[in-house]
Subunit: 99 residues, 2 copies
């Protein structure tokens, strides 16, 4: 099934222990589908079914009164959409590994 | 000229005063082109020329060793790309204002 590149961005008040716990939970979910590229930004490559699952899981984990979650579908794909500067956490696990 | 919807996401260590200063500066630049939707996520609608200007300005304001800036072009447009949950800072300034 065709995969789509998506972004998940998350806003939480990490001043509270509950907030930090929720951020860890959201990050854990997103990392099952893709990877963290900034503190609260995750890039995931998902099938349509996985997108629905991911969406359901992160929305279940958030506090709707306190947090904000935004999912963006990068319709042209990640490579075409992105310009990145500075420190980069992204690792391309699909590329051949050269040691 | 045709406008494109883009995202700017910013990662900075705001534990330092310098980091907080840089975040304020980046936010100020982005708000000249669009609006803040999360603490470090900005949605902007820009012409190709404005995109180059914005990119130049934010990259000049960042510390490349400390910070990360990612620009994503939402090729299908913001409305088609986005699913938002929870607290929403976004205000549609192009929509008719109903009071």
């Amino acid at each position: 099934m065709s995969r789509r590149d998506i972004l998940v961005t998350y806003d939480v008040n990490t001043e509270t222990q509950e907030g930090r716990r929720r951020l860890r939970k959201i990050a854990q979910i997103c990392e099952n589908y893709g990877q963290r590229v900034q503190y609260s930004v995750f890039e995931c490559s998902v099938t349509p079914v996985q997108l629905e699952q991911l969406e359901h899981e992160v929305v279940s984990a958030m506090d709707k009164d306190e947090d904000s979650i935004r999912l963006y579908v990068l319709s042209g794909g990640r490579e075409a959409a992105l310009r990145a500067y500075g420190r980069d956490r992204y690792v391309d696990f699909d590329a051949p590994l050269v040691i």
